[in-house]
Amino acid sequence: MTEATQPIQRRAIALVSGGLDSMLAVKVMQEQGIEVEGVNFFTGFCVEGHTHAIRKKDKDKDKRNNALWVAEQLGIKMHIIDISEEYKDVVLNPKHGYGANLNPCLDCKIFMVNQATLMINKAREFAGDRGFDFIVTGEVIGQRPKSQRKETMPIISQESGADDRLLRPLCARNLPPTLPEREGWVNREALFDFSGRNRKPQMALAKHFGLDDFAQPAGGCCFLTDESYSNKLADLWKARNERRYELDDIMLLKVGRHLRPEPHYKLIISREEGENRFLEGYRYMFTSITTVSCPGPLALVDGNLESEEEVSQAAAIVARYSKGRVLDEVTLEVRQADGVARQVTVKPAQPDDVPLAWNVG
């Protein structure tokens, strides 16, 4: 074949979450000779490593980033993109509403495909032939109650701007042919018609490809689907009288025990060494309380302690979670964000002094 008649190498960008479905979708494309690069979006709520990085109970867990690991297994390049700032609007104002918790799945999918669309448009503008031709996702009809229904599939394609450049290889045969299929870049017959929550077909396909190690197959990708986490986020908005957050806020919701004794302040109390170290990093932003006369946790005060009684109340609660909980007195240091510190001595709070209702989340 002369150079002039050689077929153009088609290239796709795949949304890779780190789970099995996107992994299979990429594999199916690779089998068809498509060159794939992965993109993984960091929303701030991703479950990835965060908690295992700091908690002892997760010490022996693989501290691998699943998206990177998947990319390595598949031999594809991976772009990890921080969309946490732009993503706020998705979480705060989801046009299509929330799922069971504060997970705006449908808007999230639209947003991510839209980001990928912008990427391929830009890449085509700058890279010409080296640009990307279409977008691939691991979506399966009927897999998720809200974002992956048959009716929502076209909504994602249209509202994201990807239109028929969005191919879902695992359920493509249940959907109208997309551009890559119509143009013959991929063979529709070799795509799949998976639907529903039954994961057997995916498992069988994984086996066919010889993939036997993959991250938890369904869900678990994002803290917004977690009830306790969503409660903490809702509590944050309520306390601030406004729905907004910064990246630090949502990181801190993943760490420690969160207690709200008064509407205007919350304590974030570390549960172990790793969390202690993590919270240390925030002492320049918050008033913090830590025990001096015995080993104990570090706590951040999110909000204001408005009186001496409240300082004592907060210190007594922190003392309750220290080694000195059975003592008559514990001395703690209360340090302001600017570093000005003083000591207080209190009687540790008793179990009944810390009602369950204070537990946020």
Binding site: F42, R64, L68, A123
Partner: protein, 83 residues
């Protein structure tokens, strides 16, 4: 001649931020440049080398110092910038 070693401080950031910061920094560097990334997230010891392998960069050294970890890498031929 000693290589110029760029430094990147990702202390206090958790996965995947150290990788994202590394990726974004590498995109500003030239082939052959060296970058030393310091992190307090132990996961960085897996993730940054994995990211390097995927994207064709060489890991020269990794290590731990107290609660910190570091990765020294050399930028490969393609720094990964899309545009």
């Amino acid at each position: 001649m000693t290589d110029v070693i760029h430094e990147l401080d990702t202390r206090r950031l958790l996965c995947p931020m150290p990788v994202i910061k590394t990726q974004n920094k590498v995109r500003t560097l030239a082939t052959g440049d060296c970058l030393r990334v310091i992190s307090t997230d132990p996961g960085s010891l897996n993730d940054i080398p994995a990211w390097c392998r995927i994207n064709g960069h060489e890991v020269l050294e990794t290590g731990e110092q107290g609660h910190e970890v570091y990765v020294l890498l050399r930028v490969g031929e393609d720094n990964g910038a899309l545009f």
